[in-house]
């Protein structure tokens, strides 16, 4: 299980406690539907897609998502989030082949 590339972006870059900020989470994932055929071998490529994404702040769940293969390759998930204070924003994502990864970002409000 190789480590996947993922990225969390918070917009705007400078924010205060109580502000509602935009959180962008991107992950490099093939998101195979399970109905596509490999052009060279003619075999069906097995389904491989993210089925759960969890956004946590200081280990408290903010948003949980259940997803299916209809999402695009290298999907992007955007939500809004009210900054309650200092802490860590963590995203845990798992796919249908049992791969579980996580990515975190420190939240440091100006005031």
């Amino acid at each position: 299980m190789g480590k996947r590339k993922s990225l969390i972006k918070v917009k705007p870059k400078k924010y205060n406690t109580g502000d509602v900020v935009k959180v962008n989470f991107m992950v490099m994932h093939p998101m195979e539907t399970g109905s596509r055929k490999d052009k060279k071998s003619g075999k069906i490529v097995p389904a491989h897609y993210i089925n759960e994404v969890k956004f946590l702040f200081n280990d408290k769940p903010i948003t949980t998502m259940q997803t299916w293969e209809s999402l695009s390759t290298n999907p992007v998930f955007t939500i809004y989030f009210k900054v309650p204070g200092k802490g860590e924003l963590k995203v845990i994502y798992s796919d249908n082949q049992g791969e579980v990864n996580e990515k975190s970002k420190k939240i440091k409000p100006k005031s």
Binding site: T33, F57, P75
Partner: protein, 154 residues
Amino acid sequence: MERRLFIKGLGIIAATSVVVPSIAMAAEKTASATKMGIDKALSEITGGKSISVSSKVHLKAPEIAENGAVVPVTIEVDSPMSETDYVKAIHVFATKNGNVRCADVMLTPANGKAFFSTRVKLGVSQDVMALVETSKGEFLSASQNVKVTIGGCG
């Protein structure tokens, strides 16, 4: 004379036996694969409750998508997102995909804003639909047709 009738008869039999089942099969396919799919998925989530089309739900998607593999979809709901009145869940559907369900997003008051944006794959031109569940138990929906030039599946 007999020979002519015989050949005619053969032709009619062949034509009906080929055409009729193919029509029947085509009708069955479209009904079961697409229409039933979305209806079943919706009733599974709502549990038989009625869904109202609401102007509170803003669904943004391109009217014409050149590439069906990457179609940005944005859903925003007018909601105060307070402890007592907030959006519980946003469900995203692609009504004619093999699997109609794209994402279920469970929100909490900690979000501050009922918003979700992602990118979906669309196989053919179809409606993209959002079903929103509020904390009061209401189901609101919005949908938009997206024309796809090149399909994104397969």
